[in-house]
Amino acid sequence: MDKISLMDNASNSVIDTDKPGPPLWLLAELTYRCPLHCAFCFNPIGFDSVKKELDTADWIRTLRQARELGSVQVGFSGGEPMLRPDLEEIVAEARTLGFYTNLLTSGVGLKPKRAKALKEAGLDHVQLSFQDSTKELNDFLSNTKTFELKREVAAMIKDNDWPMVLNCVIHRLNIDYIDKIIDLALELGAETIELANTQFYSWAKLNRDSLLPSLEQIKKAEEVTERYRDKYSDRIRIISVIPDYYEKRPKKCMNGWGNVFLTVTPDGIAVPCHTAKMLPGLEFPNVKDHSISEIWYKSEGFNRYRGKGWMKEPCRSCPEQDDDLGGCRCQAYMLTGDPAGADPVCDKSPHRSVIDDAVAIAQTGGTAEAHPLVFRDPKASQRLSAGKDGADILLPR
């Protein structure tokens, strides 16, 4: 961030503005509706209560305002964004405005005709996720139904000359098959595969004890990944980050609160990250009521945890505070009850034991049998959020 000092000659006073840069990355969550039921879904538990989605005009206005501020990457996400019949229209507007347009999809429902229409609308890139939702684990691993679908979508990606990035969420139940996952990516001709370790928010948090891999699993997966990197470096780029629970320092979440990322949820709420709505005592503005400029620069929601002014100890005096900016606010809130505290992943946090406890459970076999996986679906959403808002069940146990 550039610090600019403005000298006001009239009053001879010095005004310091510490203005943040533009929201370079806009994540447009077009819908929470989804044909899949992934147990690691990052949509809010209470997603089913969101019935009224932004309409086409709302999205187009949002894109224009964000672009004016300097947004340049837009991700169309969900839910499954292809469930929006106006996706082509929204993509076309984004592309005309000069955005680099990314579609984040499971590929379910993508047919050659729609792919062609999206290409004509100017879509720049399709990120195809494996919808291995653990219900379909066998299918996925035996490369039957899933493989057929992915093969068809991969062919469409190639036909339309899009870069192919595959994304697979990695967890305890599939991490031992990481070689098969990379093999599949190679076979499909992907240029990049992201092995995205599960982040424990929302549904994944509910299922954490069944999804967090053991240290042994992680070490083995790292060895396999390294072997593939050496062998296929000219064919595929493998991106892999170990779960933060196994780190001693937290991640620099979203590259800093309100620093580059702006997410707009299906109902129009603007948030610094897709899970920030869970934080207590913080109002987030809606794009139907406020401009993106007001939201980004002036709203309390975006300013509260910006920079370092909000920090408490141990972060406030920590020499490493610029490296991670205290980690993730949502994780601090979920696991310690204090959204302004240090992310408990940090071993300087007085609450590190909550992470160590979860890690200890993962070493002794997890709890998949005692607590069956909760799959994301509308019924579970209603059941879990009945009588309280969806965020409540994310309170520390």
Binding site: P22, L24, G70, V72, Q73, Y100, H125, P163, V165
Partner: protein, 90 residues
Amino acid sequence: MTIETTNIVKVASGLRLQFEEAQDSWVLLYPEGMVKLNQSAAEILQRCDGKRDLADVIALLEKDFEQTGLQEDVMSFIEIAREQKWIKFL
């Protein structure tokens, strides 16, 4: 493969070179990411149009900026651009 001045290159497919007013600079956009280019890199890439060879790119830069001896700098940037998969060879 050694890069020769007879090679013809252009920005790789799926990537886009674009001027961003908000950042007051040229950027290279790729899936879910962006690299902010310094002026030299931007001037070189803008001239790699998939038609002229690198010798012509160098000559054009030398003419436009009234300089000589740019070959080494251009070729070392092209090497980096290849490693980063920013460009493709035609």
